[in-house]
């Protein structure tokens, strides 16, 4: 019987121990409560003790959490709609405050942070133009929202906001369509410019070539006429020198040459009068 009692006691001790020991993991922080009242905050991981049945323990994830809120539509200063997708990185730093303000529910914390994030973003976007939002001041917006959120979260929820970042800035569908058509017209302009440049250059080259050709041919014509003229001059002077010795004989001689050249074919028909000089002896009655 003694043995059984020992066994029972041992079991009891084991139960007691197991309910008075608890662990806090490396990724966790824990609150020890005594009947709902916070007794201590366990920031260090490891094996801990508590009073069974009196104390209970709530654990929280102390790693950096991500709030990836749904994309929200904001108006810029020029009243254009942009859709903004952002995320917030946060972690619990003041466990007690976190527990009290959110009831220890992560989703609750995310919800509140999301609201604050949207508010801060909205006010930042409403001060800026689209181009500023997209490019120049994106960093500034993120820093400003982070600053605002950090203050609120730390004071109210015991949360440290590690970072706020804008993931996406999208134009709304109708603005996007107008962007597309603008891009299209820009490209069309560019394409036309390329083609026109090509045509210009081609026209220039062709015209230049045509000019070259005309000049070359004209120069050649000039030179050839000069040469021909020289030839004509020399030949004229040769003729003049020879023929001016006896002009009458030249005209007689030249006429005979012409006759020979002009009438030298069967097809040529001469209609002759028998009274002509050639037929003087042909017609003796005369």
């Amino acid at each position: 019987m003694m043995n059984r009692i020992i066994l029972v006691v041992a079991v009891l001790i084991a139960i007691l121990l197991s309910s008075s020991l608890y662990t806090v993991k490396e990724t966790q922080v824990a609150l020890k409560l005594r009947l709902g009242e916070i007794v201590s905050i366990e920031n260090e991981p490891g094996l801990k003790f508590k009073t069974p049945f009196v104390n209970n323990v709530v654990r929280f994830d102390k790693r950096i959490q991500t709030l990836d809120s749904a994309a929200e539509s904001f108006l810029t200063v020029e009243k254009k709609n942009v859709v903004v997708d952002s995320f917030v990185k946060w972690r619990i730093v003041d466990t007690q405050k976190f527990y009290i303000s959110t009831g220890g529910v992560m989703a609750q914390a995310n919800l509140r942070l999301a609201q604050n994030n949207q508010d801060a973003l909205r006010s930042e976007f409403s001060k800026r133009t689209i181009i500023e939002v997209i490019s120049d001041e994106r960093e500034a917006i993120m820093a400003s929202v982070k600053g605002k959120l950090k203050e609120i979260a730390e004071d109210e929820y015991g949360i440290e906001v590690v970072d706020v970042r804008i993931k996406r800035i999208e134009l709304s569908q109708e603005v996007r369509n107008s962007v597309y058509s603008r891009m299209e017209t820009e490209r069309k302009g560019l394409a036309n410019r390329y083609r026109a440049n090509g045509a210009e250059e081609a026209e220039k080259l062709q015209a230049f070539a045509d000019k070259e050709r005309t000049i070359i041919l004209a120069n050649a014509y000039r030179d050839s006429e000069k040469i021909r003229g020289e030839g004509d001059a020399i030949s004229a002077s040769n003729y003049a020198e020879a023929y001016s010795q006896d002009v009458d004989f030249y005209s007689f001689y030249r006429s005979l040459e012409s006759y020979k050249k002009s009438f030298n074919e069967q097809g040529d028909i001469l209609v002759l009068n028998p009274d002509s000089e050639f037929f003087r002896h042909f017609n003796p009655t005369d």
């Binding site: 991981p45 021909r228 004989f249 007689f252 040529d268």
Partner: protein, 387 residues
């Protein structure tokens, strides 16, 4: 005897001291057991069974303890780090090889592969990694500085550099990486113009994304290190792709126009030069021709003139006769008697046609021989074709 068998079979029971100790313990236990329950035993046969059962229970407990201790052995692969926790608190990190820890529930170990290169994709999903592949335009479409949209697809390669940080600092580090890269790529693209992102700046954009993302990951202390960021694709959105393609075509057209014009120029200018050479050459030929011809004719005239001057009348008469003979000898002739007053029909058209068809000569000349020296009173003649 069962326990004895078990002892021999036990592969871990290599400790020489254990069997005697165990035996003593068991003997002791048996003795105690016998003395305590021996008197009150219900039957001798039953008592024997009970003794054996008690002995094996004792041994079973010891065996269980041994097994429990052995379950603390773990092996870390060369590519891995083992992170050991004691009651959830970080204890130490072990390298490759076999190790021992205090078994569950006191110690636990996470093995993390720190060499494996992992990859994540922004703007598309690799078919291998995901049930649905293809583009994810909500991730890939982004605005540039000049308010244009581009479609950018990134592949990010990373590995776990610090196993402890990876495990304990951030909830879901991979998702964090994806968020960070998405945020950074949009920021970088938003700081650059579309042309830069699409053409020359690709490499630079990828580098900026890598360094800025790594900065944020370090800030969050994720324990991840980005090894490479590559821009898989950077294109204009599909809606305007046609017009972008047209620009490329236009650029080629431009070159083509210029090339065609150059070809034209290369064609006509040399031809013109050739033609000019021909003109000059022809002119020179003409010059030589006329000069030679004039020289020859002048010489000939001079020769004949010299003879003519010696005997003018005879020479003139001779030349005239010879010429007429030659001319009349080779042509068709119609002799008209001017004294006859009868009306004569002279069908010159037919004469020409017939002479042309017979001789098929190139050109026929009709000549009315009507020299002023001859009598040219209106003559009505009858014709005679001479053939």
């Amino acid at each position: 005897m069962a326990w004895n068998d078990e002892n021999n079979k036990n592969p871990w029971g290599g400790n020489n001291q254990t069997p005697p100790e165990l035996e003593e313990v068991i003997k002791d236990f048996k003795n105690k057991f016998n003395s305590r329950f021996g008197g009150g035993s219900s039957g001798s046969g039953k008592g024997g069974v009970s003794k054996a059962a008690k002995g094996s229970l004792k041994y079973f407990v010891i065996l269980a303890v041994l097994l429990w201790l052995l379950s603390g052995i773990y092996i870390v692969d060369p590519a891995e780090k083992g992170v050991v926790l004691r009651f959830g608190a970080y204890q130490n990190t072990t390298d490759q090889g076999p190790h021992w820890r205090i078994p569950y529930p006191i110690d636990s170990v996470y093995k993390v592969n720190v060499e494996q290169i992992r990859a994540t994709e922004i703007g598309f999903r690799n078919i291998q990694n995901s049930s649905y592949g293809g583009a994810v335009s909500s991730e890939s479409l982004m605005l540039t500085k000049d308010e244009n949209m581009v479609d950018v697809k990134l592949a990010v390669q990373y590995k776990i550099a610090d196993a402890q940080a990876y495990l304990f600092n951030v909830f879901n580090p991979e998702l964090t990486l994806s968020h960070v890269v998405q945020s950074v790529i949009r920021q970088v693209v938003g700081d650059n113009t579309m042309d830069h992102v699409l053409t020359t700046g690709r490499e630079q954009v990828a580098q900026e994304v890598k360094s800025a993302s790594q900065g944020l990951l370090n800030e969050y202390n994720t324990g991840l290190i980005i090894t490479a960021v590559t821009m898989q694709d950077a294109q204009p959105p599909i809606q305007v792709k046609a017009s972008f393609d047209d620009v490329v075509k236009a650029r080629e057209d431009e070159q083509r126009y210029i090339n065609e014009a150059k070809a034209y120029a290369n064609d006509i200018v040399p031809k013109a030069r050739g033609a000019s050479q021909r003109l000059i050459a022809e002119a020179e030929a003409y010059k030589s021709q006329v000069v030679s011809k004039s020289e020859g004719e002048a010489y000939r005239f001079n020769q004949i003139l010299a003879e003519y001057l010696k005997a003018p009348v005879v020479t003139k008469e001779r030349l005239y006769r010879e010429t007429l003979e030659e001319v009349l000898g080779s042509t068709s002739k119609v002799i008209v008697d001017s004294n006859s007053n009868s009306l004569m029909y002279l069908p010159i058209d037919q004469l020409i046609n017939s002479s042309r068809s017979s001789s098929s000569s190139s050109g026929s000349k009709t000549f009315q021989d009507n020299p002023t020296s001859q009598s040219n009173d209106g003559s009505v003649l009858r014709s005679r074709e001479n053939r």
